[in-house]
């Protein structure tokens, strides 16, 4: 899957935000790896796209960043969720669940065409 369209970019933002909320402070590589793991490798991202999400989330004030040292002693930027981000995450999550529920119901409609 190649998540570069608008819709999927939005959902990537949501996944990144959730990852940071659940797993605490992380750098970009860690976030990308986690998303791949959790999706059981169904989602194979071009990992660079994570950075587009991170920039957007940071510009909107939902996450903040700080420079630190990574596990292999390299300089890396670490991201963490903000209070505003936590609030927004709750809203977006509930929206997503409603949305997917509705779509699911529609898709499960029995076929009622006359034969």
């Amino acid at each position: 899957m190649n998540p570069t369209s608008e819709v999927l970019q939005g959902t990537l933002d949501l996944m990144v935000l959730k990852t940071l909320s659940a797993l605490g402070t992380q750098h970009g590589f860690g976030i990308a790896r986690r998303i791949e793991q959790i999706s059981e490798n169904v989602l194979k991202l071009n990992e660079g796209t994570v950075y587009t999400s991170l920039l957007r989330l940071q510009q909107q004030g939902l996450i903040k960043s700080q420079w630190g040292i990574s596990e292999n002693n390299r300089k890396a930027k670490f991201y963490s969720i903000t209070k505003r981000g936590t609030k927004q995450l709750a809203i977006e999550t509930s929206n997503w669940e409603t949305f997917s529920g509705v779509v699911g119901s529609v898709l499960r409609l029995k076929d009622v065409r006359q034969a």
Binding site: H27, A32, Y51, T52, G61
Partner: protein, 917 residues
């Protein structure tokens, strides 16, 4: 919502510290890829495999960096500077194209700037008063049964429905309206005295002509205009019986005559031999209420009329029968115009009935409300008439210039296809490349626009001059201000986007591969150079439109010029004399005029001299009733034009007398009052009967006049008007006092050379009598045609520009075509085609292009010509001669333009052509 704001704010902050952010991100990417590599190594890949896999997994790092850069900061400022610098480099490289483009744009934009400056003055400039859009001028439509048939003085005009519209009221009616009706607030009154005569003022001993407006006491108050020095005229100054001979002067007069001296209040100037005290100075830009440009010099209360502008024995202010004053009011916001008009119409009715007798069978004219924000002059002179046409044509010239530039850029874009393909391949989005190309176009249009703006500035006074007569101040003032700049800017930007869009789109449509191939020639896709040919055809079509319009106006002008006015207009010098009432009471002014007549006649080189109240083709006239003997009522009879002339009038003007005799020395102030009528009048009133020795009156109580002769028909006030029925009186037999007479002097040789001698002669008679409006009869006729002549000159200029631009366009397209087809022509010649065959082939294609353009242009012209109909004269709108000549001229120019490239094609040497790949 807050998120969006936060985002914008972050992006704004991202403008700063760009370099360090870029470096940091690069570090981040490196770290990420390094970590990924390590992961793969741990999974068992070799180091080099792992690195490659990691980079692949990461995605396009360079592209990501670019996207991040763009997302981090507000896009525009950083990249725009880059774009502009690059644009200038590119423009400098292809100098020829750039120069031609800039010149084309300068001409196109410059033309629009000039016309806009003029149109703005005619269409938009308003009186410099408080809320001019609220002002309304009272007016009415005149007809034969109107009770106001006689005694109306002042300007008038004919509206599109053919009605004669006047705005002159009597002072008693004004007083009644003021009392009875306030639907338009407090009505105020004014009169532009320059309609009637020239005032002479003596300031510090020097005499000169000044302009003045008589105003009511509430004039300044109602207009919301104060003074910068002293006080305004108020109700006390304008009360009956006040002999307040005071004046407020305009800023321009203050500047001109007193050099803005602060001590001007209280000074006395002598106007028409009456001492007047200056009480205040009006603000800059205030020009009165009759006109927007050319401010009046003086504003004098109406109560001073008997002193300054005496006309009859008693004051005009108490005369209910003389209608000469303009009235304006202010529309309060929220009030209905229809209601105000209806209410005023009723009030006018009552006012007229209470001030004068309305005999049965006579009607009171219906009241109209005209917009007053541009003064009375604006409506009556119909300055705005040719403007929309000129603006439209100027727009066409600009379109032509833009198409020209588009074509040039298109031709160049094929040579840039390689550069653009590389940029697309490296990852620039289509939008980005298009933006770059548009930036180049905007730079071009900015340069062209600046040059055009300069051109407009330098020529700003040329057009207003064309529209006015050569001896009077220009009727329009073209103010070159920020609005003109804004217009030019808008036009330049729109042009840039307009002509830039086509080549930009065309350039990025190339497939990347084709551009990158060495010497890439795209063989298929679409027909070669089609866009270029379409554009060139469009240029030819536009040129045809402009040529046709120019041709029509030039022919109209020449038709009008060729009209026989009915008299000999060559070799006549005209000037006006206005003997002041004070120095020359009634009898004495005919004496002084007679004296001048005699003295000028005796000058060497003067063949004959005469004078007349109305200069022929002077755009003004006098009319009266014509009551033949035995004709009782005037019901439904139209008024007849007349002129009060000197003894040698018919001889001097070269008007043949067909029957009877002209005036001679036996006609004196004491002999029978006589008149000469023209053939049209004889036909109208007497049919086939002999009118000689019949009598008529000019009004029921007046003396009767004997008809002594019938003369040929002549034009009267306007050359477009057919020769009206006219009669001529002898001025020495007139009972009305004469305020202004125009002398006509027939001279041997150039009339203008005599003005000095004549001036000296008149000074000998009376040194305080200035010579007014010196001009030749031919210049007078030209003044009547000022509007048509200006249109003809301007449209011809457009036509020439259009030809130049179109020829450049045709040359460019044919030349590009030849360059593109060098191989093909080489092959043809190698196979046996001769040079002249190739020449004919190229020229043939050029002619084909031209013909296509001419046909399109012709169709468009036939469709649009109907809008010109009322400006033309003496020809059908679809005039075959004009259409034919335009088409031929354009074809000729197209062939000439294509000649060079065609010759180049014919001289191609097959061997070299085939080698050139």
């Amino acid at each position: 919502m807050t998120r969006v704001i936060l985002q914008l704010w972050s992006r704004f902050r991202g403008l700063f510290g760009e370099e360090s952010s870029n470096r940091e991100f690069r570090d981040e990417i490196e770290t990420h890829i390094a970590l990924l590599t390590e992961t793969y190594v741990r999974q068992g890949m070799s180091k080099s495999d792992a690195m490659r896999a990691a980079q692949r997994q990461f995605g396009n790092a360079a592209l990501l960096e670019q996207r991040q850069r763009e997302a981090r900061a507000l896009l525009w400022p950083s990249t725009i500077v880059q774009d502009v610098r690059y644009a200038f480099r590119i423009l400098a490289k292809s100098r020829a194209t750039t120069v031609i483009s800039i010149v084309s744009l300068a001409l196109g934009i410059g033309v629009n700037t000039t016309i806009f400056t003029l149109a703005k003055a005619a269409l938009f400039d308003e009186l410099s008063v408080r809320h001019p859009e609220q002002l309304r001028l009272l007016a009415y439509a005149q007809d034969e049964r109107s009770v106001l048939r006689e005694g109306t003085w002042g300007d008038f005009y004919t509206d599109p429905q053919g009605r004669t519209i006047l705005a002159s009221f009597s002072w008693p009616v004004y007083q009644e309206l003021l009392r009875r009706d306030n639907s338009l607030g407090e009505l105020f009154a004014f009169v532009d005295l320059t309609q009637f005569e020239h005032l002479s003022a003596t300031i510090d001993g020097h005499a000169e002509v000044v302009t003045a407006e008589l105003v009511s006491g509430n004039f300044f108050r109602s207009l919301g205009v104060g003074t910068v020095l002293g006080r305004t005229i108020d109700d006390a100054d304008d009360s009956a019986g006040s002999d307040a001979a005071v004046a407020v002067i305009s800023d321009s007069f203050w500047q001109r005559k007193f050099s803005r001296s602060p001590f001007v209040v209280g000074k006395t100037i002598v106007v028409n031999l009456v001492p007047i005290t200056i009480i205040g100075v009006a603000p800059e830009g205030f020009s009165g209420a009759s006109r927007v440009h050319n401010p009046q010099d003086l504003f004098i209360p109406l109560s001073a009329q008997p002193l300054v502008f005496p006309r009859k024995a008693s004051s005009l202010l108490s005369d209910p029968k003389t209608w000469w004053i303009q009235i304006m009011g202010r529309m309060a916001p929220g009030t209905s115009e229809a209601q105000a008009r209806a209410s005023l119409a009723v009030s006018l009715n009552q006012a007229v009935r209470s001030t004068m007798d309305v005999p049965p069978g006579r009607t009171i004219p219906p009241l109209l409300l005209l917009p007053g924000g541009r003064g009375w002059n604006y409506a009556s002179q119909q300055l705005e008439h040719p403007m929309p046409l000129l603006l439209g044509l100027a727009g066409l010239v600009l379109l032509l210039a833009c198409v020209n530039v588009a074509n040039l850029l298109l031709a160049r874009s094929s040579s840039r296809s390689r550069e653009i393909s590389i940029r697309l391949a490296v990852g620039a989005g289509r939008a980005r490349v298009v933006r770059q190309l548009l930036t180049e176009s905007l730079c071009l249009s900015a340069l062209g626009g600046s040059a055009g703006f300069l051109l407009g500035y330098l020529s700003r006074n040329v057009l207003p001059r064309l529209f006015s007569s050569s001896w009077e101040p220009a009727v329009l003032h073209a103010r070159f201000d920020w609005q003109v700049f804004a217009f030019t800017l808008l036009v330049a930007v729109l042009s840039g986007l307009g002509f830039g869009a086509v080549p930009a789109w065309e350039a990025t449509r190339n497939s990347m591969n084709a551009g990158l191939k060495d010497g890439g020639t795209t063989m298929t896709r679409h027909r070669h150079g089609l866009p270029g040919k379409v554009l060139a055809t469009a240029q030819v079509a536009l040129c045809m439109l402009l040529l046709v319009s120019a041709g029509l106006f030039v022919r109209t002008l020449s038709n009008l010029n060729a009209l026989d006015p009915g008299f000999n207009k060559k070799g006549l010098l005209l000037f006006a004399i206005e003997p002041s009432a004070k120095r020359y009471p009634v009898l004495k002014n005919t004496e002084v005029l007679h004296q001048i007549e005699e003295r000028v006649r005796s000058l060497p080189g003067v063949e004959s001299v005469t004078l007349s109240k109305e200069a022929l083709l002077g755009q003004s006239g006098s009319n009266s009733d014509f009551i033949s003997e035995g004709e009782p009522s005037l019901a439904g009879k139209e008024r007849i034009e007349f002129n009060s002339v000197g003894q040698d009038f018919f001889q001097t003007m070269g008007i043949p007398v067909l029957y009877g005799r002209a005036f001679n020395s036996s006609d004196t102030s004491t002999s029978t009052r006589v008149a000469v009528i023209n053939r049209a009048l004889a036909q109208m009133k007497f049919g086939d009967k002999n009118p000689i020795a019949s009598f008529f009156r000019m009004n029921p109580e007046g003396e009767r006049l004997e008809i002594i002769g019938v003369c040929a028909d002549t034009k009267y006030a306007w050359i477009r008007e057919q020769e009206p029925p006219t009669f001529y009186l002898l001025y020495t037999q007139q009972e009305e006092p004469i305020r202004s007479m125009t002398f006509e002097v027939r001279t041997k040789g150039d009339p203008k050379g005599f003005s000095k001698e004549i001036r000296k002669t008149i000074e000998a008679v009376d040194k305080d009598l200035p010579l007014i409006d010196v001009r030749t009869q031919e210049e007078q006729v030209d003044a009547d045609l000022a509007s048509e002549r200006s249109c003809a000159i301007v449209t011809s200029g457009f036509g020439v520009l259009a030809l130049m631009l179109a020829s450049v366009g045709v040359y460019g397209v044919v030349s590009a075509g030849v360059s593109r087809r060098v191989n093909e022509i080489g092959v043809r010649m190698a196979l046996g085609a001769r040079a002249d065959q190739v020449l004919r082939m190229v020229l043939g294609e050029a002619v084909g292009l031209a013909v296509a353009g001419i046909v399109v242009g012709l169709s468009a012209a036939l469709l649009l010509i109907r809008f010109l109909v009322d400006m033309l004269f003496g020809l059908r709108p679809a005039d075959p001669l004009t259409l034919l000549c335009s088409g031929l001229l354009l074809s000729l120019v197209a062939v000439m333009a294509a000649w060079g490239p065609a010759q180049r094609a014919a001289r191609i040497q097959p061997v070299r052509a085939l080698r050139h790949e």
